[in-house]
């Protein structure tokens, strides 16, 4: 990495580097303009992708009359009108429901997935690959194909509009991802060290804490992050299975945008508030995000 790093686009280094490798001298010329160009291009692309998010935040802090301007202005007087309207519409119960459903289901997922991943890696059952692929295959079963029986079951057992139903469903929705990820991390635990710890008379807890935990904690963190995000984002199940008491933030968001007239600042404020937990968690743990999204294949 180090040799390429100096030649690649860093504006402060000279454009020409001379290296002697194996008796041959080779000169690498790279016009500084190309590096500058690529850097500029990267920045332009980054800003382009980020701009809608920035625009959402900017518009959310405007008065409705300023928000709906054509042509657009980058900076307008700050107004909290949108946020006031949003918080007056009673978003706290749905936000709390979302938080409960995401956090509790994530905890349940980890509690169930960890022993399962252990039985698929450190002390594997026979045909553990088949089991692993069974988990993955359930992820390919579209949720919508099972939603009607779940609805009818919930209706018959009075579980409609109950947050626990969502918690259980989100747990099963995220279980395959968590099992895959934790399996992939646990299979990196050095089994020899586990045995050595046992020989040395270390108890199960000590072994877990000193041998397993350092390897697996990052995996648990990534799995938890990704399970939290997917639960928080979920709309279809929540929309079909909840109505007033247990409705979640995404459902509230879809219902919030029915009014006529000027509502752009409101919509942006609401969208920003609902996205905030995911944005915060994702930015805070970018590397965990990559591990989680690739289900542990990237470490």
């Amino acid at each position: 990495m180090s040799t390429t790093a100096s030649t690649r686009g860093d504006r402060t280094t000279p454009a020409t580097t001379t290296q002697t490798v194996g008796g041959r001298t080779f000169v690498q010329t790279k016009p500084p303009r190309r590096g500058m160009l690529l850097t500029t291009l990267a920045w332009v692309v980054g800003v382009l992708f980020f701009f809608p998010v920035l625009w959402m935040v900017l518009v959310s802090f405007r008065a409705e009359t300023d928000a709906a301007s054509n042509p657009p202005v980058l900076f307008a007087p700050v107004s909290l009108e949108g946020y006031r309207t949003f918080f007056a519409a009673g978003p706290w119960p749905p936000l709390l429901n979302s938080m409960t459903a995401s956090v509790v289901s994530t905890i349940l997922v980890i509690l169930l997935a960890f022993p399962a991943a252990y039985a698929l890696s450190i002390r594997p059952v026979k045909k553990w690959t088949d089991v692993l692929f069974f988990f993955l295959s359930t992820k390919m079963l579209p949720i919508v194909a099972g939603i009607l029986p779940i609805y009818l079951f919930a209706q018959a057992t009075n579980l409609l509009d109950n947050i626990w139903l969502l918690i259980i469903l989100y747990t099963s929705m995220n279980m395959p991802i968590a099992v895959w990820m934790l399996q992939s991390f646990l299979s990196e635990v050095p089994v020899e060290m586990l045995e050595a710890a046992q020989v040395d008379g270390a108890g199960l807890l000590t072994t877990l804490r000193q041998v397993v935990a350092p390897v697996v904690m990052p995996g648990i963190a990534s799995a938890a992050l990704i399970c939290f995000i997917f639960s928080w984002n979920e709309l279809l199940l929540a929309r079909v299975l909840t109505s007033t008491v247990a409705s979640t933030a995404p459902v509230f968001l879809t219902g919030f945008v029915t009014s006529q007239g000027l509502f752009l600042a409101k919509v942006c404020a609401a969208s920003f508030v609902v996205s905030l937990p995911v944005l915060a968690a994702g930015f805070a743990a970018q590397d965990k995000l990559v591990q989680g999204l690739s289900m542990g294949a990237v470490k």
């Binding site: 504006r11 809608p52 747990t171 099963s172 999204l293």
Partner: protein, 324 residues
Amino acid sequence: MSSSTDTSERGTAGPNPEQGRAGATPPPRRRQTRSDSWQRRIPLLPALIFVIVMTQLPFLGTIIISFMNWNAYYPDERGFAGFSNFARVFTDVNARSAVVVTILITVSTVLISLVLGLAIALLLDRKFRGQGIVRTMMIAPFLVVPVAAALLWKHALYNPEYGLFNGLLTLVLGEDAPQPDWVGSMPLPALVAALVWQWTPFMMLILLAGLQSRPLDVVEAARIDGASEFRIFTSMTLPHLRQYIELSTLLGTIYVVQNFDHVFTITAGATGTANLPYFIYQTFYTAQDYGRASAAGVVTVVGTLVVAMFALRTAFAIFKEEGR
């Protein structure tokens, strides 16, 4: 995968005789392995049984209902329907359109995001000032809640009167700039664009991680031997990236096939944009036709299974290599 070998066997092979918990003589050892294999299964069972109950049972229910005549608006007419629901699904113009729309949305979103994601990953895989900031900015679209992102695109960007896109057109072209109704005139591309915005960062993140795990000394050697950048890309970078490309395609497809939020929010399934999830949702939730919705669900799953067979095989290859 090394851990698949029996730990108890490795235990007895060790220098310390007392460490092997599976005894030394053959008969008790066999008995031991049987109880041992149960011991191994126990931690797995809660998660496995839970997932089987939660995913396979509802689908079984869907199969049963798909053979029934069941509309919640006409509760008296409930009964066995044979294959009539399936016949209706296959002859229904909307259902067939939903299949086509699902394929169109999924293939175009995944392909475009993949190509863009790869290009951006290559751009970000160099040292430059602000590399971290650009990466963080790139991730942001993926971290906006899908419904919120769909609302943002529909109202703040696409709106013909005060959306950002038409506003920029006015800004650049003046007062008589064209002010297209983006969602109305091109609903599918509008949907795909919003989806690509969210999924490109996903692809980019996985591919960037792949690029950064590339053995650079080999690349450096090739460069010293005079290989062109293009040659290095096609014969070294791409083969190394193959498994990451396959992985991101597989995962992206799993999620985009099921997309409901964008269709629901941006077009509400209007003007030929209802995909299968939305079509089933509508048939069951709005039309209350449980039989037909279930038949459509079964068709979706069978279709998904065919694709999944190939996808799973690919996934298997990826993770086998990964698992060492």
